[in-house]
Every structure is written in structure tokens, then in C-alpha cells.
């Protein structure tokens, strides 16, 4: 019994961690490449969930099938937000400006979501959602299993893009030294917009998975932004692997503390771990994937 | 009288000996220059004197105290100031305020800070620019601000790190004048400099390093006519 409980807790932690990872990777990317702490990140996660909902209600598209569409739409939206609103703050290089601007963006987008979808609790549902598997004594349901798989696939894909494609290399170069990258003929502005777009896209994809597993409201964005914060600090900035590691840690801390300490305490433990990590290793377990490697 | 004594100083980085058994002394109220090709170990030596690096072996004595391996701020308190090549002024403060900070928080203490500041600014030819924002200064002016800030702390010994790098002839000449004035005001200077013309003009004594070893030590005229120096240094980097 105790062994099964431990395994179940571990599996739950891994699944939760996978979702945290995916939902944080975009935040991490923007932080790494643009040096911007994107307070509107959580809103992009929610936008993904709401777009998935709209697609399902309008054309009956299964949320998982909607992933590419949602990615595309949010890629464009994210890029536009960067070009029109955030770029001003990045140009001035002020952390404070970028924080306030992205905070403003989150207020605006949240209000827009409320105007379009209302403040109600929504959820994405699908026929296979409640099918459960049993492996040994461990129970996993369709929503979570698909969530974990989609998270790992997306993170893998992003790694591939970052490390193997021309755009990815340009992003990493820009992260290290935007001025030098500019001298090498990289269009830094375009890379910034692309990065914001890719981040928003991945946030949106994670939003679909979040929506499959949990109901959502327009006011959950702070929660997801904070989670992304914690994930990035735990794992390290700017790399999919860092996000994965941070997310898994977050998931593990969350499920184990609530199982073995008390279901009320995960938040205390999560932020405690965050504080501890900041003090011991402010750059996260993996350090800054871009800035530390040279 | 000797202000600084360096005895058989050695610094080893993994396999590399950056400084090997260097011994030298710096006399009070003199300008002693350290020259040598890139990688000769000048910066390493400087960093050890100012406390940013701990020597592998050897001994540094300043003003009668052993300062080997001491923390930078304590060495600073003892009276060693350092002027960096890449000067970092407080950009939003005026020239005068920049110097005033150094005077107030330095060894002199706050009481005479105002007078010290005025004098340091005057010595460094910055009086007309005293109210300018440091962030708006040209590179030559910045170098002199860096020196003014360093001497405002009322040091006994000033470590000046390539103050002439990147300056044009007129600026270099002005800077060497300032260095002489600083020495005349009673501050001993240890200078690391690439610009041989400047070194010749200003130095009381020149020490040449090559590959971590001292290869010459004496007056500028003597040193620069030494065949070993010409071979080792001037040969590789014609001035």
C-alpha cells in the first residue's frame, strides 16, 4: 500500500511537472533571449485554453487536434504584442519598464477574454478524457497521460528547433550578445518578435493541456505566471531542459509535500523551495543556458 | 623610503605561471611603471597587490604591514587606491559628486571631504567640468575622473591601470601631466601602461616583466636601452 502510494505520488508529480514545464518554457525563453520577465505569460496560457474552447465549440475540433492551430494563432499574437507594445521597453533595456508593460498587457488581455468569453468557469472536454489506465496499482487518466505526452513532445520539438535550426541558433546568439548578434547580420528585432511568438505559442499549447485537466477562469493567469517563475528559477533560464527539470521539481515538491506533509502545504513548500534556490543557486540548477556557457 | 615591497611573488593558474618569483620595491613619492608585452603578468601583479587575487607564494608588504592575501576593501582602507582602465563612474552623478563620494567614504573621512574633492578635481584638471554629469564625459575626461576619484580617497599608493589606453596624443600628454601632479601632491604611483612614450615621460623607475618574470628594473633611460628589454619587449611590440 505505501509502495503504491509512493509510486502514485511520483507519477502524479511527474505528470504535473510535465505540464508545469511546458507552461513555463515560453517564459523561460523570453527571459533568456529578451531579458524580459513576462508578466503576461499566464494570460497566453489562458488564451490557449480559450482558443481551444472556441475551436471546439465552433467546429467541434478536438482540443488535441487544435494544438497546431492554437500555436499558430498565438505565435502571431505574441509576435504582434512584442512588436507593438513590449519592444519599447526592451529597447530601453529597463527591467522595470518591461515588467510594467507586460503587466499592463496582461490587464488588457484579461479584460478582453472576459469581454469575449465571460468570467465563467470553463473547461475543455473530450470523449476520451476520463478513460483511465491502471499500471500496477498506479492510476493515470486520459487527460493527464495525453498532457504529459504532449508536453514532452513539444519540449523535444522546441529543443530541436533551438539547437538545430537556423532560427534557433540566431535566438541563442541573440540571447548571448544582442549587439554582436546584430553585427553578425542577425535581425535582432525579428528574432525578438519570433521569440515572443514562439513563447506565446508554447504557452498556448500548454493552455490546452491545462484546460483538458483542470477547469479555468480568466483570473487564473497570475497562478500560471507565478508557476512559470518558480519553474524557471528552479531549473534555470532559457533552455527547454531547464524548464523540464524545474517543472518536474515543482511537480514533485507539490505532490510529495501535499501527500506526506499535508494537502494544505504545497504552496508553502513551493515558495520555500524557490526562496532557498534563489539563495543557494540563483541561476537555477542548470544555470543560465545562454549566458553561462561561453 | 619604501612604500611597497613585493618579495618573491608567484601566482600559478593551474599549469600556468602568470607571475614567477617577482621581487620589487616602490619608493615613496615616485612613479614606478610596470611594462611588458601582453600576457607578461602585469594585471595579475596588480590584482594581487589590490587583493583581488591571492598569491600562490611570496609576500606583499605595504607601508610596514603585511597585506598578502588581504580582502580588497581592507587593502583599500590601508591606503591603496586603484584606478581602473575601464572607468566606471556613477553616470547619474556629477563629476564633483563622483569625487565627493570617494572622498567621503575613503580614508580621509567626511570632515575634509569638500576640500579633498576640490583639490582632487583641480589636480586632475576637471574644475571646468565639475558640474557635468559623469555619464556624458568623453573617454579622456573619464580617465581623469577615475584618477580624481582614486586620489580623493587620500591613498598612500595609487595603482593606475593603463590610464592612457585609447587616448590620443593630446589627451595622453594631459594625463601624464596629471600623473606627475598627483605624485607631486604626495601620492606614490604604481603604473601599468602600454604607451612607452608616456612611460618614458612620466616614470621615475621602470620595471619590465616578460612571461611572468622581471627582466629589467631601473630608470627609464637605463631600462629602455637594455638590450634584453629591446629584444624581448620592444621587438615584439614596436611602440
Amino acid at each position: 500500500m505505501t509502495g503504491t502510494l509512493f509510486l502514485q505520488t511520483l507519477v502524479d508529480g511527474l505528470i504535473l511537472g510535465g505540464i508545469f514545464s511546458l507552461s513555463a518554457v515560453g517564459f523561460s525563453l523570453i527571459f533568456g533571449v529578451l531579458g524580459v520577465v513576462n508578466l503576461s505569460h499566464g494570460i497566453f496560457v489562458l488564451l490557449g485554453a480559450y482558443l481551444g474552447l472556441a475551436l471546439k465549440e465552433a467546429w467541434g475540433i478536438d482540443p488535441l487536434m487544435a494544438i497546431p492551430l492554437v500555436f499558430g494563432a498565438l505565435f502571431v499574437l505574441g509576435g504582434l504584442v512584442q512588436i507593438t507594445l513590449v519592444s519599447g521597453a526592451v529597447r530601453r533595456g529597463s527591467l522595470m519598464s518591461s515588467l510594467l508593460i507586460t503587466f499592463g498587457v496582461s490587464l488588457m488581455l484579461r479584460d478582453l477574454i472576459i469581454l469575449v468569453f465571460g468570467p465563467d468557469v470553463q473547461s475543455l472536454s473530450s470523449s476520451w478524457l476520463f478513460d483511465t489506465f491502471r499500471i500496477g496499482g498506479v492510476i493515470v487518466d486520459g487527460a493527464r497521460a495525453s498532457g504529459l505526452i504532449a508536453s514532452l513532445l513539444s519540449l523535444g520539438l522546441l529543443s530541436y528547433v533551438l539547437y538545430r535550426s537556423k532560427v534557433g541558433r540566431a535566438m541563442r546568439a541573440t540571447a548571448q550578445q544582442d549587439f554582436a548578434a546584430g553585427l553578425c547580420g542577425i535581425d535582432v528585432k525579428k528574432i525578438y518578435a519570433m521569440t515572443f511568438g514562439v513563447s506565446a505559442g508554447f504557452a498556448g499549447v500548454s493552455g490546452i493541456i491545462v484546460g483538458l485537466i483542470n477547469p479555468f477562469t480568466p483570473f487564473d493567469d497570475t497562478h500560471w505566471t507565478l508557476n512559470a517563475f518558480v519553474t524557471v528559477v528552479l531549473g534555470g533560464v532559457g533552455s527547454p531542459v531547464g524548464a523540464l527539470l524545474g517543472g518536474l521539481m515543482l511537480g514533485g515538491i507539490s505532490t510529495f509535500s501535499s501527500q506526506y506533509v499535508g494537502s494544505l502545504y504545497p504552496n508553502v513548500f513551493i515558495f520555500g523551495a524557490l526562496l532557498l534556490m534563489l539563495i543557494v543557486r540563483p541561476n537555477g540548477l542548470l544555470g543560465n543556458a545562454y549566458k553561462g556557457s561561453v | 623610503m619604501t612604500v611597497l615591497t613585493i618579495e618573491s611573488l608567484t601566482k600559478q593558474f593551474r599549469g600556468l605561471r602568470a607571475i614567477e618569483d617577482v621581487t620589487l620595491t616602490v619608493e615613496r613619492d615616485s612613479i614606478t611603471s610596470i611594462v611588458g608585452p601582453n600576457g607578461a603578468g602585469k594585471s595579475t601583479l596588480f590584482n594581487m597587490v589590490s587583493g583581488y587575487l591571492k598569491p600562490t607564494s611570496g609576500r606583499i608588504e605595504f607601508d610596514g604591514h603585511d597585506i598578502t592575501g588581504m580582502a580588497p576593501y581592507r587593502i583599500c582602507r590601508q591606503g591603496v587606491a586603484r584606478a581602473f582602465q575601464i572607468s566606471k563612474p556613477f553616470p547619474e552623478l556629477s563629476v564633483q559628486e563622483n569625487v565627493l563620494v570617494a572622498a567621503s567614504f575613503g580614508r580621509a573621512g567626511e570632515r575634509d571631504a569638500k576640500a579633498t574633492t576640490t583639490r582632487a578635481i583641480d589636480i586632475c584638471h576637471l574644475t571646468p567640468l565639475r558640474d557635468r554629469r559623469a555619464g556624458s564625459l568623453s573617454i579622456g575626461n573619464l580617465r581623469r575622473l577615475e584618477l580624481a576619484r582614486a586620489i580623493a580617497a587620500r591613498p598612500i599608493l595609487l595603482l593606475a591601470d593603463e590610464p592612457c589606453a585609447g587616448l590620443n596624443d593630446a589627451e595622453t600628454r594631459e594625463l601624464t601631466n596629471v600623473l606627475s601632479k598627483i605624485r607631486d601632491s604626495g601620492v606614490t604611483i604604481l603604473l601599468v601602461e602600454h604607451d612607452i612614450k608616456a612611460v618614458r615621460r612620466v616614470s621615475d623607475r621602470v620595471v619590465v616583466l616578460e612571461a611572468g618574470r622581471k627582466i629589467a628594473d631601473g630608470s627609464a633611460t637605463d631600462v629602455f636601452s637594455d638590450q634584453a628589454v629591446i629584444d624581448a619587449y620592444l621587438g615584439t611590440a614596436p611602440a
Binding site: 468570467p119 492510476i139 487564473d220 505532490t255 501535499s258 501527500q259 | -
Partner: protein, 414 residues
């Protein structure tokens, strides 16, 4: 010369202060005598409880629209009044709420419709009470709202510690007799207070309380609490969480095959969104039902519950909820109290509210001495989802279906 300048500056400054002070003062208040009764109040329209806020707002608007447009206003002491609504968003921030409420008080609003969340309601009540204004609200039910000695505040719901009377009676009536119960709550005031009341009530009738499980205020993962439930399964699981959290818990119970003979969710299953999200799995879930469509009541404004529903549906896109009906009945209650008092003076209306005993589309309205809803008359019924619809299963005289107990496991429910 210099002195003159400073004096001029001083005068200018003083003038500026004065003009800005008068400019800030909003439009002159329209007193009730010129034929308009104004209702004010705040709702949390942008925050975690915005869904409830929107439902309540629709209820107020519907009643006021109906009275103004269909009935040509209300007659009180021989005068005809039209109604006006001024609701603001307090964003669940007490600083903002108190300021905005003060503004309405200053503007001469006499009748307030309350917000929810005791940290907003209580500071606002302090202001309206001191100004001699009245509040009737369908949101807050925390005990503190009614035990602070405020005389002018009324609530449609019985205070939390009394909200469990019917539920406990219902548990007693179940056959075969359940023996054990567990309670699940989040660490918010609403949830904690209700969990305490539920656990206390269960103990009183001899049910053994196995666990009181607490979760963080925003639940994303309840798997560990559910593991405890699987290890020590109660006959009844009570959740005193708000809508979103209830849905999270239910979905995770399904996902982890955590079965209990009876799942009682205080809030959540009442919402269509909840039932849509769970589909057939929602069957068997039991809830508090402050109001249900199947309960037919007469209504002095709309005639009866059915005509209210018809009018609501004809004028609104948004589906109604019990909060909507309660909010509409709030207005009706105010009007009836004014008629009874024969006056629109707030204190006279307050006295009439104290004594009010009417039936509205929401059900009977009768307040306790402390101002909260009478626990028997205004207490919730018990509902159960059966065949995708909510059926009233308790009290017996109102029931539209028999209680299903024990309920099938999640897997059995298609």
C-alpha cells in the same frame, strides 16, 4: 515683490484645491422624492468570484428593467417611482470597495445591494451603517457579517454556521444509514467556515468525521487528498469549495477512480458549466440548492417563478442561476418593504425589512434578528443530479425525485 508672488501662489493653490474638491464631487444626488429610487452597491466583477458577480448583476438588472418597463415603476405612499441601478466593480479589494461605496453614500444612495467576501462586505457595512443606509445582499454568508451588531444589513442566505441545518437533516434521512463522512475545504473564509459547520453538524447526529482535508485556495492538484480518501473511504464526502475548485476535485476524483457512495458538493453542481464538463459522470452528485426551477413560488413583482423565468430568458442571453433569482428577489423584497413602510426613508424601510415575511420567485423571505436568512424558510434544499438534471431530493414535501444512494462508481456512469 517676492512676498506678492508667494501670496499669489498660495491663493492659486488654495483655489485649485477648492475647485478640484468641488469638481470631484459627482453630480448632485437625485433624492427619492423626484421619483427615482436609486440602488447602489459593489460586486467583485474582476476577480476569482466574478462569475457569481455577473449572475447577481443580471438578477438586479432584470428586476429593475421589469419594474420600470413592464410595470411603469412602483407606487409607494401614493407616489410613483422609477428605479435606478448603480453597481460598481470592487475588484474584491476593500480599499477600492469602501471608497466607491462612500461615493454612493455621498451621492445620496439610500439602498445598497451587497458584495460578497467578508473582507469586502464588513468594511463597507461599517460605512453604510454609520450613514444610516440599508443593505440587502445575496452574496456573503460569513457569520461575522451578522454578528457584529450591524442593524441595517440583511442577507438572503442563512449565516454559514446555520446553513447546514437542512443538509444534516438530509443525511439523517438517507437509507441505508451512512456512518462516516469526510470534509474537504480550501483555506478561504467561506470554505473553512462552512467546513467547520458541516463537520460539527455531522458529529451532532452521530456521523463519524474521518478527515477534514484542507487544500490551498486555488486547487490545481488534489491527488494527495484523494489518495487519503481512497485509503479511508467515507460514506459521504462533503466539499465546501467554490465552483471552480469543486469541478477540479470532481474531475480528479474521476481521473483517480476515487469513489464515494455519496459526493456532496456545496457549490458547483448548480452551474450548467459543471454538468456540461462532467457529462454523465455528474450523475448522483448532491448539492445545496438555495433555489430550483422546479420550486414554484408566487412573486409580488413577476407573478410567479415561471413568469419570472420566462421574462428572464426573453431578455437575457446568459443562463440564470440561483444567484440571479436571489438578486431579482432582493429588489422585490426592497420594494415590498418600502410599500409596507409606506416610505422610502431608509430607516423606515429597514424596520419593514426586519419584519418582512413574503414569498418571492426565490422563495420565502424572512430575516432573523441578526439579519441573515431564516435557516428553515430561506435555508437551502438538497438537490441531486439525476439524468443530467437537478432534482430536488430533500425536504420530502418538495422533492421531485427519490435520493439515489449509494451512487454508482464513476466507471459505471458511462
Amino acid at each position: 515683490m517676492n512676498k506678492q508672488i508667494s501670496r499669489r501662489t498660495a491663493l492659486g493653490l488654495l483655489g485649485a484645491t477648492m475647485t478640484s474638491a468641488t469638481a470631484l464631487r459627482a453630480m448632485p444626488a437625485r433624492a427619492a422624492t423626484d421619483g427615482v429610487i436609486r440602488f447602489g452597491g459593489s460586486l467583485g466583477m474582476s476577480g476569482r468570484y466574478a462569475e457569481t458577480g455577473l449572475n447577481i448583476r443580471h438578477g438586479y438588472e432584470t428586476a429593475i428593467k421589469y419594474i420600470n418597463e413592464e410595470k411603469g415603476g412602483v407606487q409607494i405612499a401614493g407616489k410613483t417611482y422609477s428605479l435606478e441601478l448603480g453597481i460598481v466593480d470592487d475588484a474584491s479589494d476593500p480599499a477600492r470597495a469602501t471608497t466607491l461605496i462612500q461615493r454612493q453614500v455621498d451621492e445620496g444612495v439610500d439602498f445598497f445591494l451587497g458584495s460578497y467576501g467578508s473582507n469586502v462586505v464588513l468594511p463597507c457595512a461599517g460605512i453604510t451603517e454609520a450613514a444610516g443606509k440599508v443593505t440587502v445582499q445575496v452574496g456573503g454568508s460569513a457569520d461575522q457579517i451578522f454578528t457584529q451588531g450591524y442593524e441595517n444589513i440583511f442577507g438572503f442566505f442563512p449565516r454559514a454556521s446555520r446553513a447546514w441545518v437542512t443538509s444534516i437533516e438530509f443525511f439523517k434521512s438517507i437509507e441505508p444509514k451512512p456512518k462516516t463522512v469526510s470534509v474537504m475545504a480550501t483555506n478561504s473564509a467561506f470554505s473553512k467556515l462552512n467546513a467547520q459547520a458541516a463537520a460539527a453538524g455531522c458529529k451532532e447526529i452521530g456521523l463519524e468525521v474521518l478527515d477534514v482535508l484542507e487544500l490551498p485556495e486555488q486547487v490545481t492538484d488534489s491527488s494527495s487528498a484523494l489518495a487519503t480518501l481512497r485509503a479511508r473511504t467515507p460514506d459521504i464526502l462533503i466539499t465546501t469549495t467554490v465552483d471552480q475548485n469543486s469541478l477540479v476535485i470532481a474531475r480528479q476524483m474521476i481521473a483517480t477512480e476515487t469513489n464515494v457512495p455519496l459526493l456532496y458538493q456545496f457549490l458547483g453542481p448548480q452551474l450548467p458549466a459543471y454538468r456540461e464538463s462532467l457529462g454523465a459522470k455528474a450523475d448522483g452528485v448532491v448539492m445545496q440548492l438555495p433555489w430550483d426551477e422546479s420550486l414554484e413560488f408566487t412573486d409580488p413583482t413577476f407573478g410567479d417563478t415561471q413568469s419570472y423565468i420566462d421574462y428572464y430568458n426573453a431578455t437575457n442571453d446568459r443562463p440564470f442561476s440561483y444567484h440571479t433569482v436571489g438578486a431579482s428577489s432582493c429588489i422585490t423584497t426592497y420594494i415590498e418593504a418600502m410599500k409596507a413602510a409606506g416610505s422610502v426613508d431608509p430607516l423606515a424601510v429597514r424596520d419593514a425589512l426586519d419584519a418582512i415575511d413574503i414569498v418571492t420567485a426565490f422563495g420565502p423571505v424572512n430575516f432573523t434578528e441578526d439579519g441573515d436568512g431564516d435557516p428553515i424558510l430561506m435555508g437551502a434544499k438538497i438537490g441531486q443530479v439525476q439524468g443530467g438534471e437537478i432534482k430536488v431530493v430533500y425536504p420530502e414535501n418538495l422533492r421531485t425525485a427519490e435520493t439515489l444512494y449509494p451512487t454508482p462508481t464513476w466507471a459505471e456512469k458511462g
